[in-house]
């Protein structure tokens, strides 16, 4: 391929994303205008509050962490040909495990407690991912339904714990006691309020890339996701690989839950995941199932979240608007892809 053709190819890939971003901003502007606000001012405020100030950037990093970890979880599953729709439930499962571990080890030294708490998050999410994983591996049962049902179960579990045995009566109805200070994640950028979770997420992205493209397991997983019968004939243990992928996927999401508890809220609360699981799916598709591309995509979504948070306060834009914007962005991209493909 000539460099000219290569450059054209690259440009062709980039411009749908740029266009989608423009549509997102335009849609937001329209929504703001519909609510009686000043669209231009609102958009400027959005950018300023998410990327233009230290505090905003810090919040963006904070929100990037669960989004990135969640989308990596979905990506792992997608590469194996499975849809993990249970990221929310796995986040909660990890959060529960992390909180439990934090309470159990409340008298330990800092160096030891924090890693255990994070590992507990990994384990909690892995356990939550293992039920669909086992069902898929042993019985071939579709994971779509099972992961979703477990979301509901996890939410009820958190509701029980945060209103019952772990509840902090002084803090509120569905909020647990605070975790001990040794279990908290340190700040990375104290003035901006950004905690070290972003480092974990970035490391996870590198780890998932390495796992997928530089290990035999990753090769076999991708083969299983591309064509399970060909992979089987090639000696790949398809069912086992896919089941393991679901467990690892759950673990990543569980880590996100642990980070949210340990780095952001310092408690287990019912609204810990405001739909991160669903956004993670969108991010995974947007980044074309590539762990490295998920980083800027997750960051973009995080900026959008932080920005719309501020719009919520200034213009009264409801939180649900961000879902609409994100979904429309992906729909537009899927449409451009489809149009380019031509008629059936």
């Amino acid at each position: 391929m000539t460099t000219e053709a290569a450059a054209r190819g690259r440009w062709q890939v980039v411009w749908p994303y740029a266009g989608a971003l423009a549509i997102a901003l335009a849609l937001l502007a329209a929504l703001v205008a519909m609510l009686g606000g000043d669209a231009a001012q609102a958009l400027a405020g959005l950018v300023r509050s998410s990327l233009g100030s230290g505090a905003g950037l810090g919040q963006t990093f904070n929100k990037t962490t669960p989004l990135l970890l969640g989308s990596l979880a979905v990506i792992l599953g997608l590469r194996g040909g499975v849809f993990n729709i249970g990221v929310d439930g796995q986040i909660y499962a990890g959060a529960v495990a992390a909180t439990g571990a934090a309470f159990l080890l409340s008298t330990g030294p800092k160096g030891a407690v924090l890693p255990v708490v994070l590992l507990a998050g990994l384990a909690g999410g892995a356990v939550w991912g293992s039920l669909p994983g086992v069902l898929r591996a042993r019985l071939g049962v579709s994971e779509i339904f099972v992961t979703v049902m477990l979301n509901f179960v996890a939410v009820f579990l958190v509701e029980y714990l945060s209103t019952g045995p772990w509840n902090d009566p002084t803090a509120g109805e569905a909020i647990t006691r605070a975790i001990p200070p040794q279990a908290t994640l340190p700040y990375l950028w104290p003035r901006a309020g950004a905690h070290a979770g972003i480092l974990l997420a970035l490391a996870a992205a590198a780890g998932v890339w390495w796992l997928l493209f530089r290990t035999v397991f990753g090769y076999e997983l991708r083969a299983a996701g591309d064509n399970p019968s060909a992979a089987l004939l090639g000696g790949v243990p398809v069912r086992r690989a896919v089941g393991l992928a679901l467990v690892a996927s759950g673990a990543l999401a569980g880590l996100a839950g642990a980070v949210e508890v340990s780095g952001f809220h310092y408690r287990l609360i019912l609204g810990l995941s405001p739909g991160y699981g669903m956004m993670a799916i969108l991010i995974a598709v947007l980044s074309r199932r590539h762990p490295v591309l998920a980083v800027p995509a997750a960051m973009g979504f995080a900026a959008l979240l932080v920005g719309t948070d501020s719009l919520q306060r200034s213009v009264g834009l409801p939180a649900s608007a961000v879902f609409v914007v994100q979904a429309v962005v992906l729909l537009v991209l899927l449409a451009t892809e489809g149009v380019r493909r031509g008629a059936p």
Binding site: L31, L35, V153, F156, M279, V285, S320, V324, L334, R341
Partner: protein
Amino acid sequence: MSWELFLDPSLLRLAVAMSVPLVLASAGELLMERSGLLNVAIEGMVTLGAAAAFLASFAAGSTGLGLLAAALSGVVVAAVFAHYAVAWRQEQVTVGLTLYVLCLGLSSLLYRVVVGVRLTPPRVETLQPVVLPVVGRLPVVGEVLFHQHALVYLSAAVVAVVHLVLFRTSLGLRLRAAGENPVAADTVGVDVFRLRRASAAAGGALVGLAGASLPFTLTGTFTEGIAGGRGWIALMLVIFGRWTPVGAAAGALLFAYVEALQFKLAMVSRAVPPQFLQMLPYAFAVTVLVRAYRGARAPEALGKPYHREARA
């Protein structure tokens, strides 16, 4: 707590009433799946249908208008899905999940825009039970089956109509052919694309109506989580019912019974924390799916986009 609790007529009556959204949603979904479309946006469509029904009724004061709005919302979303799946041949699960998120967001957004922020959530009129003339006077059966609101009778009719259409009409034969082997259907002149779009529209209307039944029956309000996973459960019921409306409806009744039971148990029993009782239906659904999965044969072309010239 005696075992008579499990067969209490008022419990059974409640179960029948609670089965409506599941029966309608699963009937709609199976229509789509029989033609080859796997729609995982169903939970979002149910939520959007509920929102549309509530808001139309709230704004215009008419339940009938609410039902119409709900059905229309389902048709529109399903039509969008069908276009992505049929014309653009995108991966159906991906599009479905995206539309699911969109519908969730739209529901809350529309609610916020129309209702605004209030101290107490507004209510709309709920449907009242209609006692059917002759059969309503039968002992036990009459109370359980024929002292229900209009949507219950409608869902029974829907099950019968969908069954007849699918298995006794030529339209149904062609629709099923499109879902089993679209190539074979295409070569004999069956318009696979149009059939898929049509099944999406009809199925979408039913799913929207399923959503409408939620605010119009129990509480008369709308909340974000009003669907409570019923859309997903309907997906499972289609498999359980082996892609037949009667089978899915049977599963819906079974599931609604468990739901109603959990409701009653929560009121009666203090020993178990309510959240664990609330988990029951979802755990039950998983076990049902695992049992139902074996031997379940989906339409052969389910979820696969049809590409005519890919036959080379």
